[in-house]
Symmetry: C2
Amino acid sequence: MSDITGGLETSGIGLIKRAIELDRSKRYTESLICYQEGLQLLMQASKATGRSEAGKTALRNKMVEYMDRAEWIKSHIDKEKTTGRYHEQIFIEENSTGFSYESLVSRFLLEKCERVEIDDPYIRSHHQIVNFLKFAELLVKSQCGLRVIKLRTSADTTDHQQQQTKLAEIGSSLATHHVTLHTEFSSSLHDREIRLSNNWTIKIGRGLDYFKPAPGKLAIGAFNYDLRPCRQTTVDIFYKSPP
Amino acid sequence: MSDITGGLETSGIGLIKRAIELDRSKRYTESLICYQEGLQLLMQASKATGRSEAGKTALRNKMVEYMDRAEWIKSHIDKEKTTGRYHEQIFIEENSTGFSYESLVSRFLLEKCERVEIDDPYIRSHHQIVNFLKFAELLVKSQCGLRVIKLRTSADTTDHQQQQTKLAEIGSSLATHHVTLHTEFSSSLHDREIRLSNNWTIKIGRGLDYFKPAPGKLAIGAFNYDLRPCRQTTVDIFYKSPP
């Protein structure tokens, strides 16, 4: 087996292991993606020459098993979605990594999503406004057909003017990408919730502000949020079937 | 057809269109990934109920056509790799977007890669050192089994001490991720080249510094480099078969 094939197989097995873990935690939408991507790599590896017939058969039997499981997950998600009961929970442990906005949300942006409503009382200080910008970048990048972002947050009592200026700057930039930002300040807002117009709702216990600071300005994790340690929080994901 | 299925199909078709474009430009390794991901989405869409029999057949026939093309590309890449002749060229146009380090390089990090050598004469000013850090984050995140990064660059004549301090900070952070950074300063370095120990070489005409500044500190593209306009440059990708 060449190094390349070995590499593909190792990566494929890694993804399948992750899929099984996620499957056990009932994190089905993530698990499905890992199964699919893992199977794709194994499929490529299985076609390589230089493997014994017995080895090929063993690998293929395993692949059939994973495919069956992926099929079950897919139909389970579809069924629960139809009945409007789909619910998935992700528990982010203190100091864990791998939870960038992209890792958390991008799989729900494969479907068309013209409007996103974000309720988060803490989009006030500079780093929180930057969080909001990063989330908006993900929405723009995903090419889900975004037209409107509606942000509801609370007013910064120390410098509301500056908060408004910064959000207006993001709004102007979004406008150049054909997205309208509506901002609303509410003093009675407590819940954090992100509602996508494609019927998915993502509730992050702490809202968008669940990352710890990077260990330094030039440290791994300073820019890539998948490498940033997180604060403990729970993420609930719901699918509400359209009326 | 439900909105969801429609969304899957639209996303799938979008990816296939991109695959065909890349295929025409002989950007095969990227094209293959787009075909595979597009086919996966179409596969899901094709299983949905509510489509006419004629519609199903038409979609499936198209899928078979794309699968054949993806298979041809895969075997073409494999053949050229075996003979050590694989070469792919990406022309990044002035002001174009979608060329983050991740978009450019992550497909070569699915295979095991323990050592990465970077020759780039301009890792000197702060934003260039940040570029290097972002590239290092990508390598760490990819889980390719990275152990060593070797950076060859030229000394900053205005403040070499500060350049060394900043690179040492990145080195300490990499060490906490079990990666050793070797830095070497050369005054005769002209070529830009990134050599991966899994035999892929990526040559970016301008080196890592090919992004334009974002339009503002709180603008779309300030953090996500796929949304940053680029400067014109050419990327050559080679595969050198092991001796």
